[in-house]
Symmetry: C2
Subunit: 355 residues, 2 copies
């Protein structure tokens, strides 16, 4: 049974995009593919406000999180940790045997610029990992303020996980000086999972040239120099997803980027107002995410039962992440969802939970 | 314009599978996904004649080639090289900073069991990489004979790239003692690219536990122990492909595994007979691949022009790989193609090249 997804990935995919996933196959070393590549890449650059090269990875976002630390550090990585996904980046860095240190705040609290400044002033680091939007806690870190601090440290690469914010929140990659800005397509891009996207700066590519042991599959240099000029990917890509991405980019520009970002904010505001009336927002005030609201279950209702009832009516939300199950729940306002659909959902929750 | 693919990947995908790619999304941490996972995995095990766990990777086959050496060696890898893809595995091993040595034969020649035996008898190695079917040269290495040798070396992990043979040639993983048997789905599986599959032995998982620096995305232990019990994948998978794989497995079993493998042999025999009449087979006799025939262009025809003419009529074959372009050409007999379709293609080539 098909259910409308208000979970933070995968998100609802519109029928015309699902239909585009049926595209017949063609060779990934053919001119047909290169034409597709040359159509898609400039559109992705426009959507990310960047002239940087674009890495199209047949992987989940986690693959590109690993790629970015593997390619961009041969000294020490600073991992800014405030939730499950920033914790994961720290785990990945360790699993790659890379030197690292942690800047850690409580789940639900934001990473503040002065904290980053203090750590980086030691001169120990050549890269920082930073999760823009923590899907686990519904917290949006202050990207612009952190970017200001990063300008003091031009030798430290700025690696940003924008997994659950890219295409839902304006991220001006070049203006902010982001060296690697990465996401999967199953969140605000509103495509089925299976493709991840990163913009990669020249500085990051140059760094990668000095790094050994980074492997082949996620090597920035091979992809963004050797294959880039041929308008191809290093290895066989998920042609289906790249074709659908091209279609989705057209839909995104037809809506307009600013309209898209505003729609996300409006949907989030509606959920926040409702949450503040009946529950409480989980994250620190002033840092609420525009794409996923994490709500404290102050009424102690059974989120599992609520979701089961919603499921019977063709809707799904998310329970809290990991250790925060039942204590919190999450409503995603991502991708191609509309304010009307959010209202429908909230009305249903009110009815089921008798609010 | 849609063209029928006789190239060694991606291969022709049948319409009902393309239609299955339009499946609506559902959560990868939901019971819907776990049910899909639990349907797919036993079928893959059956198709590979194995009780080993199955790694479903959102990546190309190259990702799993990298995974296998990263997870399975902390001593020295022996790379058996006889073409572009076995060369690639050697390059990957080096790019991962792993110790390795090479067993190298000329392109088009086979890796022989005595060569492997001699190298392994030094006791230097803890893993061997072996490409079953070299897509670049149309050569099928003697997997069974090599497997016999491997039985003398139980401490050396047997890593097999079956990228362009799996599902086109019978590979009895457990009987042959293959520790990692990997492939992408865009060859004989006849699905669109974007998913790679490997069976992984307990021995390989145990080895992985002793290895550091292997990263997170392709970690065998995390996927095959931590997430296996939840019937989930470590990170967000390409749900679309896994759904289509389930449908395709049903089609494969409806045909019958032995029938499928025989059909591949019949198609290859037809191409070989034709090639021997008008051209010459490229690889060493006795080692011709059942899934891709690499043919010496002894008549000096323009393969590029031939393919252009074929393209106009809705068909595509492959030029030679890399340095063998124009000197050779390749006809794939992979996946769901039928003998009748091969005959149609050969008739067209005869007509265009005036043979």
């Amino acid at each position: 049974m098909r259910r409308k997804l208000f979970i933070p990935g995968p998100t609802e995919v519109r029928d015309e995009i699902l239909e585009a996933m049926s595209i017949y196959m063609f060779g990934h070393r053919s001119s047909d593919f290169s034409e597709l590549f040359n159509r898609v890449v400039p559109k992705v650059q426009k959507a990310l406000y960047t002239g940087n090269k674009i890495f199209l990875a047949t992987s989940s976002s986690t693959g590109l999180m690993e790629a970015s630390v593997r390619n961009c550090s041969n000294k020490k990585v600073l991992n800014c940790m405030c939730g499950a996904f920033s914790d994961r980046w720290n785990g990945i860095t360790k699993a790659c045997n890379l030197e690292c240190d942690q800047l850690k705040v409580e789940w639900g609290k934001a990473i503040k610029p002065e904290m980053v400044d203090e750590k980086l002033s030691t001169g120990e680091f050549d890269a920082i990992t930073f999760v823009h939007n923590e899907t686990s806690t519904g917290l949006m870190n202050p990207l612009e303020e952190i970017a200001e601090v990063m300008k003091k440290y031009p030798d430290v690469l700025f690696l940003v996980d924008a997994v659950s914010s890219m295409m839902g929140v304006k991220i001006e990659v070049d203006k902010l000086g982001i060296d690697v800005c990465l996401a999967g397509v199953q969140k605000c891009w509103a495509l089925p999972p299976g493709l991840a996207i990163a913009s990669v700066s020249e500085k990051a590519i140059e760094k990668s040239k000095q790094v050994t042991g980074k492997g082949y599959y996620f090597d920035f240099v091979t992809m963004l120099e050797k294959y880039w000029d041929k308008s191809q990917t290093t290895t066989t890509p998920t042609i289906t997803h790249i074709y659908a991405l091209d279609k989705q980019l057209d839909r995104i520009f037809a809506e307009g980027l600013d309209n898209r970002f505003n729609r996300h904010l409006q949907m989030a505001n509606y959920v926040r107002d409702w949450a503040n009336q009946y529950f409480e927002m989980f994250p620190e005030e002033g840092y609420w995410s525009n794409t996923v609201s994490c709500i404290k279950n102050t009424r102690g209702i059974s989120i599992k039962d609520l979701n089961k009832e919603l499921g019977n009516r063709g809707y799904t939300i998310s329970n809290g992440y990991g250790k925060m199950k039942e204590e919190t729940f999450r409503i995603a306002t991502m991708g191609d969802l509309t304010l009307d659909e959010i209202k429908e959902l909230i009305d249903l929750i009110n009815e089921i939970a008798q609010l």
